[in-house]
């Protein structure tokens, strides 16, 4: 096992002039089983940060901690210098600032349009729902395919289109941070490409935390990379450094063999 003192040196977050998300000493245990060990990392105000690591590394659990779907953690998470535990208006208001796109596209059993505006709240937003929906669908590279059938059932879309619809739904709430849990894992190459293009464009104005098992995708899209293994952040570095000159032995092994042993 890596000692805590050694870990704190390794996992010291990369400093950015402006930080959107800051996580310090995050610990999570579920039913006595430790899932995350003293995670510390930071995300800049824009760009894609790829979160990679083997299955069971705690990547999805980390995402769920960030938007408080998982609340049994200790430590500190701040979004734009505000603690998410003391977010004004509580958990629900916080989640309106953090979009989440999961691996499996889950559309609600209603129309395409209603799916996009599902999370829209507030008087002015509802009045402008159509414009917001159009913008979100354009950002998700789906507008051209659905603009003439916005009131068709969402389930009639292909899997790739459904995933882009989920992305549009997450974007319609105007998030300050977008969490993506392997959003292209179950999609065909065309859909994958469309989603990657959409993400690249989005990354110019909001920070994206992208969980991916696909190292090529992480290299292609990520500006920085966080490598996790067995609930610990092993290395956080900019993309070129991580893929060309990884610092940690575990990182080198993972890049070479796609396996990781932290012990």
């Amino acid at each position: 096992m890596i000692s805590n003192s050694r870990l704190s040196n390794i996992t010291a977050p990369v400093q950015h002039p402006t930080t959107a998300l800051q996580i310090d000493q995050l610990k999570l245990s579920i039913q006595g089983q430790p899932i995350l060990h003293e995670i510390s990392l930071s995300l800049p105000t824009s760009g894609i940060t790829a979160l990679i690591g083997p299955s069971g590394a705690g990547k999805s659990s980390l995402l769920h901690c960030i938007n408080l779907l998982q609340q049994a953690w200790q430590g500190e998470i701040t979004l734009h210098q505000k603690s998410i535990r003391q977010w004004p208006g509580g958990d629900e208001k916080l989640r309106r600032h953090i979009g989440l796109v999961a691996q499996k596209p889950t559309v609600f059993p209603t129309t395409i349009y209603r799916n996009v505006v599902f999370g829209i709240d507030g008087f002015w937003q509802r009045r402008n729902a159509h414009a917001i929906a159009e913008q979100a669908l354009r950002q998700a590279a789906l507008w051209g395919e659905v603009k003439d059938r916005l009131h068709a059932p969402a389930a009639s879309l292909s899997l790739g289109q459904q995933q882009r619809l989920c992305l549009a739904r997450a974007l319609a709430i105007k998030p300050k941070l977008l969490l993506l849990d392997e959003p292209t894992a179950s999609l065909d190459p065309k859909s994958k490409q469309l989603i990657e293009q959409a993400l690249s464009q989005l990354a110019s104005h909001i920070p994206l935390l992208l969980v991916s098992h696909n190292l090529e995708q992480a290299q292609r899209l990520g500006e920085q990379v966080i490598f996790m293994c067995e609930g610990k952040v092993i290395e956080q570095a900019d993309c070129d450094t991580f893929f060309n000159h990884p610092q940690r032995v575990e990182s080198k092994e993972f890049l070479r063999w796609a396996v990781c042993e932290c012990d």
Binding site: E92, R95, R96, T106, F108, F118, R169, I173
Partner: protein
């Protein structure tokens, strides 16, 4: 052999239904041939004068069942939501077991409880001459169908996929918004089925209703007045069948009440078929 057994069972059940319908139609034919269908819309029921107006009992049945469902449906769905969303998971099976036990209690026990507790309570609280009223029947029926609605609604709500709920939570929707926009719309087919099954049970309920409805053959004045004694089809059959001689017009009129009840039940079953709602 198994195939033969399955086929003959199916045909036996089907022919049972036809036989029952045929028997009821045969038994009530004399009253139909003598008075046509008009007596269904008449309000005078004096068997010794050959007046067999069905309207008060039909109206009493429909109003008591309608009010019972208006009370039981929101309570049953709320109880199901409470058990799924609020009650700690270790206690959930116990609450459900309690509801299942309630559903299995014989209706005469509910009737006795209604007679002992509900009727005097209504008399005292509402200052009535008698607590045996349409309201008593409706309240008692609502208690009787509540467990069915709760248990079936709970099943329907549990079938809503967890990932749908989680996605809605991730969008920052409040608990109530998730219930209103995800859980209830998706569980609606199951809740509708629970309602129609309960409607069937409430409509056919005899003994409990007979003990608390007051058994007076007249329409309430005004029609929405629930605080007057009234009559229901089942209660009338239960009360008078022993007195009517077989083959008499009275007997035939009571049989026609049974036929009417059966037609209403068939209508409920047909309504519960999902394809009508597509």
């Amino acid at each position: 052999m198994l195939r033969l057994f399955i086929h003959s069972s199916a045909w036996l059940s089907f022919s049972g239904l036809l036989l029952l319908s045929g028997f009821l139609l045969y038994a009530s034919w004399p009253i139909f041939s003598e008075q046509g269908l008009y007596f269904i819309a008449e309000s005078e029921w004096y068997p010794y004068e050959d007046l067999f107006g069905m309207l008060p009992a039909l109206f009493g049945s429909l109003l008591s069942v309608g009010v019972a469902l208006l009370i039981a449906l929101p309570l049953g769905v709320a109880a199901a939501l409470f058990n799924i969303e609020i009650v700690p998971s270790c206690l959930q099976p116990w609450l459900r077991l309690l509801m299942e036990l309630m559903a299995g209690i014989p209706s005469v026990v509910y009737g006795l409880m209604g007679l002992w507790l509900l009727v005097p309570f209504l008399e005292q609280q509402l200052d009535l001459l008698t607590g045996r009223t349409l309201l008593a029947a409706a309240l008692l029926l609502s208690v009787m169908v509540l467990p069915t609605i709760m248990v079936l609604s709970e099943d329907a709500l549990r079938k809503v996929a967890d990932d749908q709920r989680q996605r809605a939570n991730a969008l920052g929707l409040s608990w109530w918004a998730v219930v209103q926009r995800i859980l209830l719309p998706q569980a609606w087919p199951g809740i509708r089925l629970a309602t129609l099954l309960s409607l069937g049970r409430a409509m056919g309920e005899t003994v409990a209703v007979m003990l608390v409805i007051g058994s007076i053959d007249r329409l309430p004045e005004p029609l929405y007045n629930l605080l007057q004694p009234a009559q229901s089809l089942t209660s009338r059959i239960g009360r008078e069948m022993g007195e009517a001689s077989v083959g008499s017009p009275h007997w035939s009129a009571l049989m026609s009440s049974g036929l009417l009840l059966m037609l209403m039940s068939v209508a409920v079953v047909l309504l519960s078929q999902r394809r009508w709602f597509k």
